[in-house]
């Protein structure tokens, strides 16, 4: 029941976001017609183009028109590319989503494996070393990490060709091969945050009363760790996953510039410059839906793991 409520409120949030986006782009300065024809165009030419673009209608009419289209999967036609926005985005969205999902996966694996190691070997040399390295990695922004990765793994070890890209519809394996490196750049700082969060959870849980109870029943340290502590320590990390995913989607838009990958980020930038509002609006709505959907997943996961929130 609570989940149904959550779904309904998620849909409302998407609606609010889309309204805000549409209104915002209608009121900010800048004229798509001027952007397309240049400042040398005559007033008649501009007026004709505005009419053709449907910009002369009042705002509410345009909004209703737009929303009805969006509901049918039609985001309008791109001003600058002249093709349907849906086609334009459908082509690029998989790049962003794949990268964010790979990045999420790398983050979770790194954080979980290293945090478990460090919690087990709290006072060992390697455990401490991981802690220090973690502090450094946490402060490396993805674009810089991306440059370092390109330098080391691309140029020095030649594990991938920097600036290269193979589309997913040509060769899925090679496409993923190109996605992994930017995904690592995005994942690293997030992984180190998740690591810190999980590690402090694990160490904190170790001192809880139920752990003593578990030992009193004859559990080994390993059994106490995996059967009792781990699940409890994961609870604060789950909240973080939702935020991290939203950040990662934003991160892909930047990092694809560093790696020269033609994804949503590139079209977003050029569309903002060209005042190509249908494209910008569509991308923002898509990202909002992704973020809201991932938050919904996190909420469900939270309820699965922590019975107290049901």
């Amino acid at each position: 029941m609570k989940i149904l409520k959550k779904i309904v409120s998620s849909i409302l949030v998407v609606l609010v976001v889309s309204t805000l986006v549409f209104v915002a782009f209608s009121v900010i300065p800048g004229d798509p017609a001027v952007a397309k024809l240049g400042t040398m165009a005559t007033p008649e030419q501009l007026e004709n183009l505005r009419q053709a673009m449907g910009l002369t209608d009042p705002l509410p009419v345009r909004y209703v028109h737009w929303v009805l289209g969006v509901l049918q999967g039609d985001f309008g036609t791109s001003y600058s590319y002249g093709i349907p926005v849906t086609d334009l985005i459908a082509d690029k969205l998989p790049v962003t989503v794949t990268m964010a999902i790979i990045s999420m996966f790398i983050m979770i694996v790194l954080a979980v494996v290293l945090a478990i190691y460090s919690a087990y070997h709290e006072h060992s040399l390697l455990g401490r070393a991981i802690g220090v390295i973690n502090q450094v990695i946490m402060s490396i922004p993805p674009f810089f990490g991306g440059i370092i990765i390109t330098l080391i793994f691309g140029l020095t070890f030649k594990l991938f060709s920097p600036g290269g890209y193979i589309s997913y519809d040509i060769n899925l394996g090679k496409f993923i091969g190109y996605m992994i490196w930017p995904a690592i750049a995005i994942a690293l700082p997030k992984a180190s945050m998740a690591y810190s969060l999980l590690l402090s959870g694990l160490i904190g849980e170790k001192k809880k009363d139920y752990v003593r109870t578990a030992y009193s029943r004859g559990n080994s340290s390993k059994a106490v760790f995996y059967r009792h502590i781990l699940k409890n320590a994961c609870i604060p990390v789950i909240t973080f996953l939702g935020m991290a995913f939203a950040d990662m989607i934003a991160g892909t838009l930047v990092i694809e510039q560093v790696f020269g990958i033609p994804g949503l980020g590139m079209i977003l930038l050029t569309s903002i410059q060209n005042r190509d509002y249908p494209v910008v609006e569509a991308i923002i709505v898509c990202i909002a839906v992704l973020v809201i959907f991932s938050n919904l997943l996190v909420d469900i996961l939270y309820k699965v793991v922590d019975p107290r929130t049901r």
Binding site: T213, Y215, S216, R217, G218, N219, H228, K231, N232, R308
Partner: protein, 261 residues
């Protein structure tokens, strides 16, 4: 059955080592209920944890001996210690609210010692767990079995703890202030439950409390501790009528008396 001699517990987790228990002696025969009384910080819980083999071996240094049915609890290999814990020695704690794992179902936690120490299959374990939940006087064991700790009251959780501790019919149950966190009516119920378990199952109980009146109801023998030392020990009635140590006298005189006109 249990023989503790000259037990000294010293903590080395700070710069200056700190001794919390001095020359602790205790004998418990099977089926006996022994009370261990003292104020907070008197070392009673530390002694109990040492007997249950639950003191962290890194931080605490122990001298003397704890022998339970021929097993040297202080120095035996961990596997041997684990085979005793939850099977022959069980323990319940002061805080029923936090002593259960919040994200695991009650049934899972009650069965845990069975999973560790027996070869019972899932169905047998469930039957046994339901039986135990009934035995500790919980209504609707089926529902409790499927519940999570936060859905139960403090008294119910302590009963669950007792069910989980008693599931392998241990020889010794260590009850570390099991009623302190509960309100008075529930306290009395838990004490009579422990009494019944002792009578029916023959489980010896080491009952730790700072509440002398509870100890008097339950225990035949009592040990009084203060600042890490045993200051008095003997038959409960003897101690109550003829306390040797000044501290014991003060403890007894501080029990509120209800005068009826």
């Amino acid at each position: 059955m249990l023989h503790v001699e000259d037990l000294n517990i010293e903590f080395h987790d700070h710069i200056i080592p700190e001794t919390v228990v001095y020359d602790f002696d205790l004998d418990i025969e099977s089926g006996e209920i022994v009370g261990l009384v003292g104020e907070s910080g008197s070392g009673k819980s530390m002694s109990a944890l040492a007997i249950a083999g639950l003191l962290n071996r890194h931080d605490a240094r122990k001298k003397g001996s704890i022998v339970f049915e021929g097993i040297d609890i202080l120095n035996c290999p961990r596997e041997i210690l684990r085979s005793v814990q939850g099977d022959k020695i069980s323990m319940i704690f002061q805080e029923p609210m936090t002593s259960l794992n919040p994200v695991k179902k009650i049934g899972w936690q009650v069965e845990e010692a069975l999973r560790i120490h027996t070869d019972m299959n899932k169905e047998e374990r469930k039957q046994k767990a339901l039986e135990m939940l009934k035995e500790v006087e919980l209504d609707d064991p089926e529902r409790i079995y499927r519940s999570y700790p936060h859905q139960l009251s403090g008294g119910m959780r302590q009963r669950v703890m007792i069910a989980a501790a008693m599931i392998n019919s241990p020889k010794l149950l260590i009850a570390d202030e099991p009623t302190t966190a509960l309100d008075v009516t529930v306290q009395a119920q838990i004490v009579s439950l422990l009494k019944r378990i002792n009578k029916e199952k023959g489980t010896a109980i080491l009952f730790i409390s700072h509440d002398l009146s509870l100890v008097r109801q339950l225990c035949k023998r009592v040990i009084v501790m203060k600042s890490g030392y045993i200051v008095d020990s003997g038959e409960t009635e003897e101690i109550f009528s003829n306390p040797k140590h000044e501290y014991t006298k003060n403890l007894i005189s501080s029990i509120p008396q209800v005068k009826l006109d």
